[in-house]
């Protein structure tokens, strides 16, 4: 779950990390009032869950409150990467001398958090990471003790942070680590971390992405969750315990188990088709589960056929088949169904499906080929 910059900065300032004075605005008038209250030059920044805001024109500098209002008015009408901007953050402009990068994320290979610090910060950090990774200093703190001062100092030495700012950057890094750990973050980033002309260090931007699995113990952050219209069906599916991702094709996919569903998507592609979605119903596949899954998949108007690929494990294939038969007798689907049952009692399940208004196939490859053909 991604947080907005203004939310992330709220958490940073609570942790004692310096941030510029700023206010949230949802109308041009509010932005004007915010700029007046802050005084001087301000930045008006789109609050939207998309990268590359700056390059898309979502960040503008305003010298006067009137200018702030005009910028807010323009930005509040923008779409950035398809997402409508509904809020702007008005913030005192920093007196920038240098830009650093500071981020903490997961290093899967080492199974450790990785803290990254670079004096080549700013918008092109991803470019730096791939073209000259040596310019990013890295450290792997033990999560049981957190980021220790010597580790943070070593990062400053490696990255070449000026001596005058070393203590301040060590302090920010340790505080940021505490934010990372206490919010169950997958990623926390200050980019840029400004060194100002007066030598002080201040967080220019903040990015925070929270582990969805940990939201049960992050009640405040859970309440900050915003669902954009194109995420609605994904959210509805999640509420049912499903995992759903919408894609561009026309073959709807339902399966049980992430790997099996991914494998089914691949089989559809191998058969020359395009999957309309990823939908993993999880372990079991009872009648009610199949019904809700079909509703979600068929709500996508692009879907022209649906491939249901269920591996009978704990849930037996004959029970799955009965569930499917129940669903199509009470709620006849608008698109043809191709069913592929395997595993426990799959044979018995396929017997039950004989004569029903659907296509049943024994293997994943055959079922995928059939679903692709029906979508054409």
């Amino acid at each position: 779950m991604k947080l907005h910059e203004y939310q992330a900065k709220q958490l940073l300032t609570r942790a004692g990390i310096p941030i510029p004075e700023g206010r949230l605005a949802t109308t041009p008038e509010e932005a004007e009032a915010a700029a007046r209250a802050i005084g001087g030059i301000v930045a008006v920044k789109a609050q939207v869950h998309a990268g590359g805001r700056g390059k898309a024109g979502g960040i503008k500098i305003a010298k006067t409150p009137n200018e702030a209002r005009d910028h807010a008015s323009a930005i509040l009408h923008m779409r950035i990467k398809g997402l409508r901007v509904r809020k702007v953050y008005v913030e005192r402009a920093a007196q920038i001398a240098r830009e650093l990068y500071l981020g903490i994320t997961l290093d899967r290979d080492r199974r450790r958090p990785v803290v990254m610090l670079s004096t080549v910060g700013g918008m092109d950090i991803e470019e730096v990471a791939s073209s000259s990774p040596e310019k990013i200093a890295r450290g792997w703190p033990d999560p049981l003790v957190g980021l220790l001062p010597f580790e943070a100092r070593a990062l400053c030495f490696d990255a070449g942070v000026p001596a005058e700012q070393r203590n301040a950057v060590v302090d920010v890094a340790q505080r940021l680590y505490r934010v990372y750990a206490s919010t169950d973050a997958m990623l926390v980033e200050i980019n840029p971390l400004f060194i100002q002309t007066d030598g002080t260090v201040i967080a220019g931007d903040a990015k925070l992405d929270i582990d969805d699995n940990a939201l049960f113990r992050q009640p405040e952050l859970r309440d900050w969750k915003e669902i954009s219209p194109d995420e609605e069906s994904e959210e509805r599916a999640r509420a049912l315990g499903f995992s759903y991702v919408q894609l561009d094709g026309d073959v709807g996919i339902i399966g049980n188990g992430a790997g099996l569903v991914m494998g089914t998507l691949d089989a559809v592609r191998n058969a020359g088709g395009h999957a309309a979605n990823f939908l993993d119903v999880g372990g079991g596949a009872k009648e009610s589960v199949v019904r809700s899954a079909l509703e979600i998949v068929l709500a996508n108007p692009k879907v022209k056929s649906v491939l249901i690929n269920i591996f009978g494990g704990i849930t037996r294939g004959d029970e799955v088949a009965k569930g499917i038969l129940d669903v199509i007798s009470t709620h006849p689907p608008r698109a043809p169904l191709v069913i592929r049952l395997s595993g426990t009692e799959a044979e018995a399940g396929r017997k039950l499906l004989e004569g029903a208004p659907l296509v049943s196939r024994a293997t994943m490859d055959e079922a995928a080929a059939e679903a692709v053909r029906l979508a054409k």
Partner: protein, 289 residues
């Protein structure tokens, strides 16, 4: 015994709720020595004939258990894993889905100083067919034989085991290691165990998009492999930036793509199946040498 589990493995079940109790009986039916369960506060009782203990330490004292399977729900799963590690069990399998990543980072840190092998979380478990099953997999899809099998998937593992069994290709040990970003037994470690296992003649490596575990496993096999291997990567058609069900199955930037994994396998001389149905054929070829 093949790797990690066999006839001498004595298993306790942490978390004897509906799921835990159900699978405890299924494992017992398979022939696994399930010697007890742990439910704090219910020590001294019995469930489905299994003696229940308050703590893992007590259970180990009373039963000589050397392995554990964890069904404790996500919020308490770190505690359950750390309790099992503290009791110095040889093998711990965590079935629980939804353990927070930061909890797994802490577990991994303790695990690095421990002799225990941890499989999971969010996994189907492990099985040495005909001897011992510590997991939730439908056992009838598995059969004894020479194919060592490691997989990040759940149902896809059953599917492939089913295909192998149908093709008369039994398995030495199947390790369903789970699809989370931080897991106890990553693919390269699992592959190393199977490579060193005399009962395994060929290794099937089933990966998913995300991370670089398959690349490292391929590097390991290129340097140390003493038997053939066959690969499969699920998620070739997944778009970048979208999380495909498993928290670990996400392509970010040029990291974790199916292409990179397939390339690494091929560079290590490991043939890659385009679909699960191709795996048995490739395994047969590999066995013929």
């Amino acid at each position: 015994m093949s790797v990690l589990l066999g006839r001498k493995t004595r298993v306790i079940v942490q978390g004897m709720g509906r799921e835990g109790t159900f699978h405890a009986t299924r494992m017992r039916d398979y022939g696994t020595q399930v010697v007890g369960g742990v439910v704090p506060g219910s020590g001294g009782t019995k469930r489905e004939g299994f003696p229940v203990f308050d703590t893992v330490a007590e259970a180990v004292d009373a039963t000589d258990a050397n392995a554990s399977i964890i069904f404790v729900p996500a919020p308490g799963s770190m505690d359950a894993m750390l309790e099992a590690l503290d009791a110095q069990l040889g093998l711990v399998v965590t079935i629980t889905e939804g353990t927070p990543v930061h909890d797994m980072l802490r577990v991994a840190s303790v695990l690095a100083r421990s002799a225990t092998t941890l499989i999971g979380p969010n996994c189907p478990g492990a099985i040495t067919p005909g001897e011992c099953k510590i997991g939730i997999m439908p056992a009838e899809n598995f059969s004894p034989g020479p194919v060592g099998f490691v997989s990040r998937s759940g149902t896809l593992t059953y599917e492939i085991a089913h295909l192998l069994t149908e093709a008369d290709l039994g398995q030495s040990t199947c390790l369903g290691i789970g699809g989370d970003p931080v897991i106890g037994l990553p693919t390269p470690d699992a592959v190393r165990l199977l490579n060193e296992d005399p009962a395994t003649a060929v290794i099937v490596i089933v990966g998913e998009i995300g991370g670089s575990a398959e690349e490292h496993a391929a590097e390991y096999m290129r340097a140390y492999g003493n038997k053939p291997a066959v690969g499969f990567i699920a998620g070739r058609s997944a778009p970048p930036g979208k999380r495909m069900g498993h928290a670990g199955a996400i392509v970010s930037g040029n990291q974790g793509t199916a292409e990179s994994k397939v390339k690494a396998f091929e560079a290590a001389g490991i043939p890659v199946a385009n679909a699960p149905s191709e795996i048995p054929g490739l395994v047969k070829e590999a066995l013929r040498g």
